[in-house]
Symmetry: C2
Amino acid sequence: MQEAPEEPSAAIIRAWGRLIRAERTVVGRIEAELKSAGFPSLHWYDVLLELKRGPEGRLTPREIEEAVLFEQYNLSRLLDRMEKEGLVRRVPYPGDKRRQLVEITEEGKALQWRMWSVYGAAINRFISAKLTDKEAGQLSALLLKLIQE
Amino acid sequence: MQEAPEEPSAAIIRAWGRLIRAERTVVGRIEAELKSAGFPSLHWYDVLLELKRGPEGRLTPREIEEAVLFEQYNLSRLLDRMEKEGLVRRVPYPGDKRRQLVEITEEGKALQWRMWSVYGAAINRFISAKLTDKEAGQLSALLLKLIQE
DNA sequence: CTGTTTTTAATGCAATTGCATCGACATTGA
DNA sequence: TCAATGTCGATGCAATTGCATTAAAAACAG
C-alpha cells in the first residue's frame, strides 16, 4: 500500500479550497458585470492597464506575460485580437529584431477607462462591501506569502 | 467627462490583484506537478473528490456544479470524458427522469487517491511551506467573507 | 386536468486555450 | 568568427470552454 503524503493540515487545505472558491466567485461576478455592460473580459483589461502603466504605454510581450501571468501563446493571440480591434499596436523593438513593443492606442486607453467605471464599481460591490481596508491589508499580506519565491 | 466610479481603496485593489495572482501562481504550480506526474487536471480531481464525499459516492450534476463552481455545459462534457475513462458512471435518478446521478467507480476512487499523493505533496510545497496554520486560518476567515452572500 | 413555466442535462457551433514546434534573431564560448 | 545554445514571438492542430439553444420532464397556475 502506498504511503500517504505528509498530509497538509486541515487549516491549510481549508485555506486552499477557499482561495480557489473566492477567486472563482469574485472573478465570475465581475466578468458577468463586464459582459453585461458589453465589455470584453478581464484579460483584455489586464493587458490594457499594464500597457497604460508602462513607459510611453509600451511593453514587450514578455513583460506583459510576466505581469499578468498569461501563457506566451495565449498572449500572442490575445494581442492579435486586440490589435484587430485597434486597441494596441505592435511596433519594432529598437536594437533587437526578435522582440517587439506593444503600444496601447488612444482607443485602447479610452476602453480601459470606460471599463474601469464598471470594473471599479464591481470591485466595490463584491470586495469593498465585504472587507474593511484593514482586512484587505491583512489579506494582501497573507497572499503575498503565497506568491513569493 | 465621465464620472469616475466611487474608487475602491488602494488597499482593496491591492488585495484583489494579489488574490488573482496568488490563485494563478499556486494553481499553475500545482497543475504543473500533476501534469508532470501524468495525471489529469485539478478539475478532474475536484469532481472525483466531491463524488467520493457524496452519499454512496453519488451526486447529481447540479450538486457537483454547485460544489465546484463549474458551468453546466462544461461539467456535462467533463463528465463525458470522465465516463469514457471509466472514472464515473451516470445512473438514473429515482423518481425524476430529468435528473441523473453521477457515481464514482472504483477506478475513479483509485485515481483520486493516487492523485492525492502528488496533490497533497504539492500543497505542502506551495502552501504549507509559506503559511503557518495560524496564518492559514486567518486567510480562510478573510476569504470566507468574499465568498459569502 | 391542460397549458405555461421552470428545471435539468445535452449539443451544435464559435472562440479560446493548450501543446508542440518553428523560424528568426541574439548571445555565448571555443 | 562561427557553431552551439538560448530567447522571442508565431502558428498548426487538438482539446476545452463559452454561447445559444434544444429536448425532456416536472412543477405550477388557472
